[in-house]
């Protein structure tokens, strides 16, 4: 045995070389996935052709034939426009739902940790009820048992000629655009930019000199003053549109229909119960030492919450919150049960009126993917800004 032989590094043969094998396996796996996908696509195309159903996306240019209530969509417009209109509704439901659910969820979540027994128990009752009921049941219940039970239009409740409530919706006064609305909005944009500039200026001044910045006051004042000037300068950019009750409905004003309300409130109540639990958990995850230190500094309970606990809890809560926002957006598809024309319902109606199902559903999935990725993008932004360095 020679003890001084230097070890010779020889590459093992390819079939025993781990690096080669890894690459080969990955390539094979990729090949397998690609061929599976191609096989499925080929199968689909073959069967669609055999049945005489078109395999392209030409159906998007066909006239829809059906009407979408509460919108400017005409049945002679094409299916593409219908899907866009549905997507618009989904965006409205999702945005309004996210904002309202977060507000309600934070309030209930904090309430669950209150020292007041009644507040705590009520919040717990709310959370336990709405978390354990499927959201579709909540939506359908709200529609059939609550909103449809409002008085019919013949016996509508009117409040000082300003509000009209019936089971056809709640109608409130609204702003009606006039000719000068466009220029007013342009001016408003300019004023907004100005106010942002004032905000930044006051913050920089604070950083430089240490004087109180009072930036909210300054920027707010600039905004209000600017808007007032723009309002006067452009004449009457907005008129008031008051609801007028007829026999079959209410003209003018802004109407929130019972179907839309059932969907929105169902989603908000359900998602808020989940958000409440997330908020509660994230508050409880903030180290006890922080609360004790805040108390030692003499901060009131509200100050402690706002300045110490919530900022740290927020950091922890963002990923699960993002999850709930995505869930709410996707749950908006339950509007089909109560006849809300969001994008899923529009797609389903198009399919039943002749659009080929695989392509239409593919487009639907794409729409939801875009929404989800957008929400994920913004929450990731927030996440990154708040991570501890």
């Amino acid at each position: 045995m020679s003890a001084t032989t230097t070890a010779v590094t020889r590459r093992p043969p390819p079939w025993r070389d781990v690096r080669v094998l890894r690459l080969a396996l990955q390539a094979l796996f990729l090949l397998g996935v690609v061929s599976l996908v191609l096989f499925l696509l080929d199968n689909l195309v073959f069967n669609l052709r055999r049945l005489g159903i078109e395999t392209g996306f030409g159906f998007l240019d066909q006239p829809a034939g059906f009407a979408i209530p509460d919108s400017d969509f005409r049945s002679s417009q094409d299916i593409q426009a219908a899907i866009l209109q549905g997507a618009r509704t989904t965006v409205v439901v999702a945005l309004a739902g996210i904002v309202l659910a977060t507000l309600l969820g934070v309030v209930v979540g904090v309430a669950r940790l209150s020292t007041n027994w009644l507040v705590r128990r009520t919040a717990a009752l709310y959370v336990e009820t709405f978390r354990n009921v499927p959201v579709l049941v909540i939506i359908v219940f709200l529609y059939l048992a609550v909103f449809l039970r409002l008085p019919p239009i013949s016996r509508a409740v009117e409040w000082v000629d300003v509000l009209v409530l019936s089971n056809r919706g709640l109608v409130v006064p609204w702003l009606r655009g006039t000719g000068s609305t466009g220029s007013f909005l342009l001016a408003a944009l300019v004023v907004l930019a100005l106010a942002a500039g004032v905000w930044v200026w006051r913050t920089r001044r604070f950083d430089r000199t240490g004087e109180k910045h009072r930036r909210v006051l300054w920027a707010g004042a600039t905004l209000l003053a600017g808007l007032a000037v723009a309002f006067v300068a452009t004449g009457r950019p907005y008129g008031l549109s008051l609801p007028e009750r007829g026999d079959l409905g209410v003209a003018n004003g802004f109407r929130v229909g019972p179907e839309f309300a059932a969907l929105l409130f169902g989603l908000v109540l359900y998602t808020a119960s989940h958000i409440a639990e997330i908020v509660r958990g994230s508050i409880q995850a903030v180290a006890r030492g922080q609360t004790e230190a805040a108390n030692a500094l003499g901060l009131s309970e509200f100050q402690r919450l706002r300045l110490v606990v919530l900022p740290q809890a927020f950091r922890i809560a963002i990923p699960p919150l993002a999850n709930q926002f995505l869930n709410l957006t996707k749950n908006s598809s339950l509007g089909i049960a109560v006849s809300v024309y969001e994008v899923t319902k529009v797609t389903r109606v198009s399919i039943s009126q002749g659009a080929p199902a695989p392509q239409a559903i593919a487009i639907l999935m794409l729409v939801y993917l875009v929404f989800s990725l957008t929400i994920a993008f913004f929450t990731n932004l927030a996440n990154r800004r708040l991570t501890l360095p």
Partner: protein, 381 residues
């Protein structure tokens, strides 16, 4: 040791991939030939029954070997497709499912009923989940063309109507200006409503639901002012209207027909053998009424000397004792099974939607051609 395990894994993966790749990509020929038949859905590879010329699938063979017929139906329209309290399916369309089963399988009860919504029905048919769709479906050009569907003989000539509350004073469609109108989504009704009101220049608000339950609730709660659907469906709903809300007298169907709605069974494109078989099963019921053969006198009819009747019932001909076989793939005495187990058109009609039933619909256009109606079965020869 580790490398030999990796090597074994690699071999397994390669083998799996090669197998999949080998079976796939069987070419996308447009002539419908089932070349890569083993992995394509919706078709078996046995040759078509009876005469040649069947392209693609063989539903007839599949149904016969399975022993039951998958029938797509409605479960919420009284008179046509409805589930009773005992869980039984009942109705005009249900009876026609039984007609097809009696003709193809010899047993009218060998049916698997699959309730479908208006939005699901064509996808279910296209995918092969059901063999035949008998669900008050209107024949239209776009359904014939782009839904991959073949429509068979119309069994019920209907029209679209409008139902309002009896205490309102609507008489014409123009009176409904500004009204909210409830409709089922995914139906020709929805499209007709839009085009009829557009043609009249009348504004209205549609409220389209997936199925009749929330629609009925909305109509009862006065959320909508009118309900539009096929007149036969409206008659069915009206007949079932609960006493607590005024019973049938609380509703009125306007004397307006908004469209033609020829309702009939539907099969998938691409299997003309199956289409012919189902078609003639249906026509047998009308031919039976024309010959005055019903489930009550079928046994006497079997003894008849009339050569037309004998041929129709699959009886041996007088002269040489041969039995007529049109080559449809059905048993030669399928008409006997149909009539005996389900009945002729008149019996099916009267049992479910006739003047003495809850719906109370007169034959009208649904009478035989000999009585001034539209049903005209081609000669069985």
């Amino acid at each position: 040791m580790r490398s030999s395990r990796t090597f074994g894994l690699a071999t397994l993966v390669t083998a799996a991939v090669l197998l999949t790749a080998g079976c796939s990509l069987g070419g996308d020929d447009d002539d419908g030939g089932s070349e890569a038949a083993g992995t394509q859905t919706g078709a078996t590879t046995t040759t078509g029954g009876g005469g040649g010329g069947g392209q693609g699938g063989n539903v007839l063979g599949a149904v016969q070997s399975r022993g039951t017929l998958n029938c797509g139906v409605n479960e919420a329209v009284p008179g046509f497709g409805f589930v009773t309290e005992g869980g039984e399916f009942q109705g005009f369309d249900i009876d026609y499912c039984r007609v097809v089963a009696a003709a193809v399988l010899g047993d009218a009860d060998a049916v698997e009923y699959k309730p479908l919504t208006a939005e699901q029905r064509f996808t279910a048919l296209q995918s092969g989940e059901i063999d035949v769709l008998i669900r008050n479906t209107t024949r239209t050009a776009s359904r014939d063309g782009s839904e991959g569907a073949t429509f068979l003989t119309t069994t019920f000539y209907d029209g679209q109507g409008m139902m309002v509350r009896a205490d309102s004073d609507y008489q014409e469609l123009e009176d409904l200006a500004g009204a909210t109108i409830c409709v089922l989504s995914g139906t020709t009704t929805e499209l007709n409503l839009e085009s009829q009101f557009q043609a009249r220049g009348v504004e209205y608000t549609p409220l389209a639901f997936e199925d009749n339950d929330p629609l009925q609730q909305a109509f009862t709660a006065e959320r909508c002012d009118a309900w539009t659907s096929d007149k036969s469906q409206l008659a069915g709903v009206r007949s079932n209207w609960p006493e607590g809300q005024g019973g049938p007298e609380a509703l009125r169907i306007l004397d307006v027909t908004m469209s033609k709605e020829p309702l009939g069974p539907v099969v998938r494109d691409g299997d003309s053998n199956w289409a012919s078989a189902v078609d003639w099963a249906i026509l047998a019921t009308m031919q039976a009424e024309e010959f005055d053969i019903s489930s009550e006198n079928i046994d006497e009819a079997l003894e008849s000397d009339d050569p037309e009747v004998r041929r129709f019932l699959g009886q041996p001909a007088e002269e040489d004792g041969s039995v007529f076989d049109p080559g449809l793939g059905l048993p030669t005495d399928f008409a006997v099974n149909v009539i005996r187990e389900v009945g002729n058109y008149e019996e099916i009609y009267n049992r479910n939607v006739g003047p003495d039933s809850a719906l109370g619909l007169e034959r009208g256009l649904n009478a035989l051609w000999t009585d001034g109606g539209l049903h005209y079965p081609p000669p069985y020869r």
